[in-house]
Every structure is written in C-alpha cells, then in structure tokens.
C-alpha cells in the first residue's frame, strides 16, 4: 500500500483510559483556542485553504524516499504547516489530518485520537512555532533562517512528539520508561532528519516558485509570546522529564499506580467464587470456556440470521 505514515499513531488499547482522557481534554482546549483565533481572523479564504492543505499534507505523507535497506523517509508535516499557515491554522489542519487518518483509515485509534492529535498536532505545531520563530529572530530576515528554521523546527517537532509518545506509553504501563522513551527517541531522532530534509526541500520549492506564500505565512506567525513560551515549555518539560523517567522507571510506575493511571491489573471476576468449582479446573478456565460457548452461540446465531435474511431477499 502506498500510504504508510510515521510509526507515531498510537492505536487503541495502548493508552490507559486515564491518560487518554487527560490528553483528550488538553486537545479539546487547544483546538477550541485555535478555532477561536482562526475565526477572529475574518479571512474567509482560509477555510478552503485549510481543507485543501490538510488534503495536501495527507497526500504529502505518501511521498517517500528510500533511506537504506528497504526503509524509507516520510513527511509528518506539522512544521511545514506551521511555517506556511501560522500556529492556529496549523493546529486545525493537523487535527483534521490526524482525525481523518484515525476515523477513515484506522491509523491510530479513536479513543487514542486525543493523544495522537495532541502529539502530532498540538506539540508538533507549538514546538515548530517556537523553534522557527527563534531561528527567524536570530537570522533577522535572511534567507538561511527559513531553511535552518525549517529543518530544526521539523526535526525537533518529531523528536519532542516522540518523547511524548514514549512517556504516555510508560504512564499507561505498556512499556517501561527506560525502554519506551529511549526507543521512541532514538528512532525518531533519525526519522526527524528525514522530516527536516523533506521540509527544507518543500520550502526551497515554494520559495523559488511563490515567495509570496512564505511571506504570507510569516504574517500568520501570530501566536505571540504566550504560544512561544508554551512551545518552549513543552519542549523543555519533555526534554527534562524523559531522561528522568527513563533513569528512574520505577518512579514513573509508582506515579502511575499512585495516581490510578494504570488500569486495575486483574478483574476480581474469579476471586469471589471459591477456588475450584470443578476439581482440577480453575474458575478462570471455567469462565473462559463459558464465555467461549456464549460467544460461539452469538456469532452462529447472527450468521444464521444473516444467511436466512439474505436468502429471503434473493427469493423475494
């Protein structure tokens, strides 16, 4: 299949419910602020633009290049969207991209969607914004600022988002912090280079062909100091929390359990009944067998019903 995006979309089943809910809340807040800011812009041209550019990012994620030995680099696009559209519209565009990927293509789960939007949309965009603005300031309007800013924004947005994914997996008790975080960070430090190079390639192309679009994007960098610091804070917090968590994985486990982030490890289903109802067969096994029988009955019942109604439809 052509379409093969980053290994950053968390499927359902991986994040604990508590982590999912917290991430959903953060995402909803960020999206609500973005919607308000974009509507206040009063530039009605931007609705079709955001829709089409979301499609362009989705399609752009199909464009790959071979790295080595059958692996290939892809685009996530948060940095590119931020540079061209400004942070608010970029958050909405990335929300749409990640949303369609989950809803339509099952790339990333639905309950995990809040987290995926947060990682790729909100963190990706805010970190890009902070880095890009900082480099632009230093460059003072020279052309290299666009490319250096583009590359660093792209690389760091991927890297920090990956740290966030690692931390979330660790907090959900899926993977110990001292494995999940370095693994995610290591893989994405490389993937980020690809993202950076593709982003620069795209910026070169757009700069050569329609410089005005880059300049228009420049005007949209209207996050203000608060957003800039928000991006910085996210980057720093994750950059500090990740090594801490990985060098001290039990600490994180402790936080997770203490705060109820981990779901109950085992249902009390079998503990209420005395240990063995049938000699030699545990209650767990009995419950599993009963569930299996019920499941088979349900499935066969439905199958028979469907077959019957199909036959009736055909003969009618």
């Amino acid at each position: 299949m052509l379409y093969a995006p980053l290994p950053m979309h968390i499927p359902d089943g991986f994040l604990s419910v508590a982590v999912s809910v917290v991430l959903w809340v953060l995402t909803v807040i960020a999206v609500a602020i973005s919607l308000r800011r974009v509507s206040a812009d009063l530039d009605e041209r931007r609705v079709p633009m955001m829709g089409v550019l979301a499609a362009a990012i989705f399609a752009g994620q199909m464009l790959n290049f071979t790295v080595a030995g059958g692996t290939s680099g892809h685009l996530m696009g948060a940095a590119l969207a931020t540079i061209l559209l400004g942070p608010w519209a970029a958050i909405l565009v990335m929300t749409t991209v990640v949303g369609v990927q989950a809803l339509v293509f099952q790339d990333g789960g639905l309950l995990a969607l809040g987290g995926n939007i947060f990682n790729m949309g909100v963190i990706g965009v805010l970190v890009s914004y902070t880095v890009y603005r900082a480099v632009q300031k230093v460059a003072g309007g020279q052309k290299w600022g666009l490319y250096v800013g583009g590359f660093s924004a792209a690389w760091l947005s991927i890297f920090i988002a990956a740290l966030a994914v690692g931390l979330q997996l660790a907090l959900s008790g899926i993977s110990p912090a001292n494995i999940a975080i370095p693994a995610m960070a290591g893989i994405h430090a490389l993937i980020g280079v690809g993202e950076g190079l593709i982003t620069v390639g795209a910026l070169v192309f757009i700069y050569a062909s329609r410089r005005d679009l880059i300049e228009a994007g420049e005007k949209q960098q209207t996050g203000g100091a608060i957003v800039w610091f928000a991006g910085l804070a996210i980057a720093i917090a994750l950059a500090i929390a990740s090594p801490l968590a990985s060098s001290n994985p039990d600490g994180l486990e402790w936080v997770a359990e203490e705060k109820g982030f981990l779901d109950a490890a085992q249902g009390p289903l079998y503990e209420i009944i005395p240990d063995y109802v049938f000699p030699g067969v545990s209650n767990e096994a009995v419950a599993t067998i009963i569930a299996g029988i019920i499941g088979v009955v349900i499935v066969f019942g439905v199958a028979a019903g469907v077959a019957y109604s199909r036959k009736k439809r055909l003969t009618a």
Partner: protein, 266 residues
C-alpha cells in the same frame, strides 16, 4: 487515473449500513471505551467483546476476511508493548539468554502484552466496521451531533473532497519520479544519488503538491464566493433520530454496560 481503493467505504445492503451514522459512531466509541476499561487478562470478557464485534461484522456483510485482514494493519505497533513481557515483575515462566543478556518472561508481563494486543485488535475491528459501513458525509453528520464545531467539520469536509484529487496527484508525481529513476549502462556508477538529495527531491514533490493545493484552494474559494459564500459556514439542521435508532442505541449501550459489569463482577 483515480485511486478508488483509497476510500474504505464499502457499499452493502445490511443492517449495519442502514443504521443511523450517529448511533454507529457513538456505539463504536462506547465499544472501544469498554474494551479499554476492561482489565488486563479478563479473558472471558475479551472473548465476549470479540464475539460482539464479530457479530457486528457479520451483520454488516463486509466479510470477515476483509475486516480481519485490515485489522492486521494495527499489529506493527504492538512491538511497542513487547518489552513489558520481560520487565513486569511476577512469577517467571521461562527465561533465555541472548549473548550476555538473560531475558525472563514473567507471567504478568505476558498477560499484559497479550491483553494489549487483543484490546487493540478488537478495537481496530470496530473502527473498521464503522469506516467501511458509513460514507464520510454521514460520519461528518455524526461529528456534528457529538458537538464538533462546524468550522472544524467544514475543514474535514473540504479535506475529504480534495483528498482523492491530491492523492492522485501524489501518485502521479511518484510515477513520474520512478519513470526517470534509471540505471546507467556504464558499470561502476553508484545509482540513486545521496540520501540528502533524495530527501530534497521528495521535499520538492511535497512543495509542488502544496503549491498546487494553495492555488486550487484559491480557485475553490472563488467558486464558493461566486455561489454566495460569505465566510460563514452554514449547515442544515440535523435530522431527528428515529425511534428505531434510539432503540438500537439503547440496546447497544446496555450490552456494553453488561460486558463492563461482567469485567468488574458487579
């Protein structure tokens, strides 16, 4: 040329297809939430959840092979949970060594790993049945019904409309690149250029796609204005839910509540 196969919607005449999209949407989310709330290693409940989604698949007439095949797409990420097999404290099952390392498989670790894999596999099947039995415009109606703001829904709609157009353009760009990626006859030449150069070329293609997107969005905007668009996204009110839809919603949620109750043994 078109990429027909990108649209996951599969038209069938089935009970699931005819169900109101809002009901399907809410039930799918509730099903995934139930699966997520089910504790690790609650095998009987997993079996019942799997039977439920299998029954829904049968009712949707999408074909079990199709749904299970697509569900396999979710597997690569399961690797992320692999280490837990060896790191979770608990009674040891077996251990083996690779070089200097000794890895010990703990029972609770293995149980958690299998639970995560099953949960994500069962959840993705629900998402597949939803996406394959509901046309996207209906999904957008469901999004509005659960309170997604209409500006965001409008962006989703425009994206969907142009997704296939731009995916086609991306495919044609890839073809054009492949067509010129040849191999010289002279021996000893290194094929393919450097990685950075290849990445830059891919970037140029992305830039090309973006630019055409920008220019197209300008034309779309003008076409919208020509038909009276003034920046305000207007939508028709949502149709009311039929009694049958309420019934389906209620009984679906009741089944899930029972499963969840079983999981925690009321």
């Amino acid at each position: 040329m078109h990429i027909h196969f990108l649209d996951p919607y599969h038209h069938r005449i089935s009970l699931v297809h005819s169900l109101d999209a809002r009901v399907k949407f809410v039930l799918t989310i509730a099903f995934i939430l139930t699966t997520a709330l089910t504790p690790h290693a609650a095998w009987p409940v997993y079996i019942l959840l799997f039977a439920t989604i299998l029954a829904a698949t049968l009712l949707s007439e999408l074909g079990i092979g199709f749904v299970l095949g697509r569900a396999a797409l979710a597997f690569p990420f399961v690797l992320a949970a692999l280490p837990v097999i060896f790191t979770l404290p608990g009674p040891a099952l077996t251990s083996f060594s690779i070089g200097d390392w000794t890895l010990t498989v703990s029972q609770s670790g293995l149980e958690r790993f299998i639970s995560v894999a099953l949960k994500s596999w069962i959840s993705v099947q629900a998402a597949i049945v939803l996406a394959s039995s509901t046309p996207f415009p209906d999904l957008m109606m469901a999004m509005r019904a659960v309170g997604v703001p209409r500006l965001l829904v409008a962006i989703f709609g425009l994206m969907w409309r142009y997704l296939f157009v731009l995916a086609d353009e991306a495919l044609r760009l890839l073809r054009a690149r492949a067509a010129r990626s040849g191999q010289a006859d002279q021996p000893g030449l290194k094929n393919g250029g450097s990685v950075t150069w290849r990445a830059r070329i891919a970037g140029g293609m992305a830039g090309n796609l973006f630019l055409r997107g920008f220019e197209r969005s300008d034309r779309i905007y003008m076409a919208m204005v020509a038909r009276g668009y003034d920046g305000e996204v207007r939508v028709a009110p949502l149709p009311p839910l039929h009694a049958g839809s309420w019934l389906a919603l209620g009984s679906g949620l009741a089944v899930l509540a029972i499963l969840l109750g079983l999981a925690y043994w009321l």
